[in-house]
């Protein structure tokens, strides 16, 4: 039966209109978009069938993104062009499909494939000495942090941080952080270490790197 199904890999933007929609609600927004589109979204078997939708990596509340990844299964194979058109019409404000392709049904789950993600971070307020602060941060071999009742080391989760603009309306950084199961670096944690208020940082995810 699964041989007849179609697996789609969708790259989409989550824009400002939906930045406060959490992971589970985003999942539901996708289910509803598929239902509006009348595409034959596949559901799991069993007593509580769930839509077969698979998001690569949860995007923290408040972030926007240009590069979210979703795998979706349809009951039957459809022309990709038609799928794209139907979805585009059905999406709510706040979600835009960037690209869509059919992928092999046998590919491993997206969550197991993610390796790292890139973020662009804009601070709403100036942060004096940012370049030095960043240099000092990167010079550390460990960065012990405490989050949600758990101690962890932030430093190994940081792959790269580049200062794009120190002045102007707001300082601007690009960072690449680990996104592996049990090892996810959070940009707002980096912002906190740098000495800025995490709530005054605007974060946009620009790339998810798969294995």
């Amino acid at each position: 039966m699964s041989a007849e199904q179609m697996r789609l890999r969708i790259t989409f933007s989550k824009t400002a209109a939906m930045r406060y929609t959490g992971h589970l609600d985003l999942h539901r927004a996708w289910e509803r978009a598929f239902r509006r589109s009348r595409l034959p979204l596949a559901y799991s078997q069993g007593f509580h069938p769930q839509p077969r939708l698979n998001l690569a990596a949860a995007l923290p509340l408040g972030f926007t993104s240009d590069c979210e990844l979703l795998d979706a299964w349809l009951e039957t194979v459809q022309p990709v062009e038609q799928v794209l058109q139907a979805l585009t019409l059905a999406l709510p404000p706040g979600m835009v499909v960037r690209s869509l392709e059919q992928v092999d049904l046998r590919l491993p789950a997206l969550q197991t494939q993610t390796q790292s993600a890139e973020y662009e971070v804009t601070l709403l307020d100036p942060l004096p000495g940012l370049a030095q602060r960043l240099e000092a941060l990167l010079a550390q071999s460990t960065l012990p942090r405490h989050r949600r009742d758990r101690d962890y080391d932030l430093r190994p989760l940081i792959e790269e941080i580049v200062l794009l603009a120190e002045d102007g309306p707001g300082p601007h950084l690009r960072m690449r952080l680990s996104v592996r199961e049990g090892a996810t670096g959070r940009p707002e944690e980096v912002v906190d270490v740098l000495g800025a208020s995490p709530t005054s940082a605007r974060v946009r995810r620009t790339r998810i790197v798969l294995r």
Binding site: Y20, E31, R32, A33, G62, A90, T199
Partner: protein
Amino acid sequence: MTLPVLSPSEIELRLERILPGVQKPGRYTGGELNQVVKDWQAIETHLALIFPDLYDIGMSNLGLAILYESLNQRPDALAERAYLPWTDMEAAMRQAGIPLYSLETHHSLADFDILGFTLPYETLYTNALNTLDLAGIPLFAEQRSNAHPLVIAGGHTTFNPEPMHAFMDAFVIGEGEEVIHEIVDAYQAWKRSQAERPALLRRLAQIPGVYVPSLYQPHYLESGQIARIQPLADAAPLPVRKRIVAKLPPPPTHFIVPYIDTVHNRVPVEITRGCTRGCRFCHAGMISRPVRERSVEQIVHAIEDSLEHTGFEEVGLLSLSSSDYTHILELVQAVSARFAGKHLGISLPSLRIDTFSVDLMDALRGARHGGFTLAPEAATERMRQIINKPVSTQALLETAAEVYRRGYTTLKLYFMIGHPSETLEDVQAIVDLCKAVLAEGRKVIGRRARLNAGVSTFIPKPHTPFQWVPCDTVEQITAKQTLLKHSLRDRDIKLSWTTPAETMLEAWLSRGDRRLSQVIYRAWQKGARFDAWQELFRYSAWLEAFAEAGLEPDFYTHRPRPLDEIFPWEHISSGVRKKYLLEEYRRSLAGETRPDCRESCFACGILPAFADLRRENPGEAWKCPEVKSPAPRSNDFSRYTVTGETQLDAQGSSK
């Protein structure tokens, strides 16, 4: 406190700073699918529709959804939404100087022409005050001028509008679908006339179903009871009779799809309005007469249309008594045939206690299903006769067994305690009945059987046959609840109840007179808000407010009313005659039940009150008998205008 009126872009700029730091910021942004955004400058009249509680609650309110869709179809008006922020957001907004704003265009509420509150339950009252305060609008109607929006309220509580009279310019009594447009028309005509605010209020008072409290004056006896209610202007009708729509209009289908989870995150479709059962405690059943039904075709079409526009995965088929819908079996069959295999959940609440209900639910049960709920309300024959809900214990046990047999592991039963005629034996019977029901479940599915017993406390609501009876005292309620808690100890039974304090507050506010407005105001000043939320409910603030206002809470709740008492809500008519309510009260004292009025008409008063509408809409649409008599020549059956100073008659309605 007066806040400066900020422009939408200034509000957005400030929001940008505070939203990342509050809980669930998705409540405060708007921008969802199907919201309607119109060109503010190009539209003549701007309405804000307000549910004064969290977005999560208010988004599920069907009444506002109906008005939103209907108003936004007018080219000359726009309707936007506003909800009350949670305490963290309120603090952040006050600190940042952000006024309460609409979700669609982020305009301050003070920028709107009309603010329309829905007040479906009394524990929203302090929230309504807080809404106005957060918008920088004077709380008291008499302090508002032409510079302020017109502030109106509708919803079930407005059948006793008096406790909120000081804060609202006008109330809508009854159904809002038609009257809201008449209000907008009157507002526009007034605005063009460039007259002062009192002229607007007089215009509004001319609209059937609109109550303008400032045009009436109650006089009190020394005892605190009402002596009479005096209209102060020719424009003030007496009584103010509720509005109904003769025919249920096509249901709304373009529901806004929230980006975050809400309490009823689904398509609501009203299948019928009103109820013929005549349960004597039921406010909704008395005030929402007559029963009007939608056709199966219209309902199925509305579901299809709504799903296409929203993508919701659940539909709620709403009514006060689903089993009584004439075409319920046909509807259930049509819905299950039409939506089979679509992974659509369908809920059908308010089912009668019989095995037919289990068949109905079974036919609807798709892939997603919840529990099964029944409302026997009372557990002894005696109490059932008093409240006029004649359900037999045997029928309940048979139904319960059938529910468990069909694969439901949890049955939820609703009961009510606190009627003055109720004894501890009647309460013990609830315990015994719950145990017997669970035993039925265990017979069928063994240890997997669960029972949830929700036991609420009776409040004698205005416009019901029990409006003359007192509430149980806190001590009586506590004794009854203690009995339940001690005797219903079973790991498979989950008992829930309302605290006596919550019950008292709801009782005071629903039975109160105009003097309660001072209590509400003072309680709000002391920080009372979100009274419906247990974690924020502050009983002590209310008791202090009563003391400061020099009022005795027990006067409102623990005093049996003499049969000739003039109630604070006497000048508001639900269409049901006071004489009929009294007759029902007397029958309850005698333990006599009243059959379902679909069988035969018992002349509750609805038909004469709305004879014209029934005459124009014969046949199936109403469950009342047809009106054959010719229309009266005066042609004004639906209004009853009294000029000058008039003592209300004891019937409270036209004779």
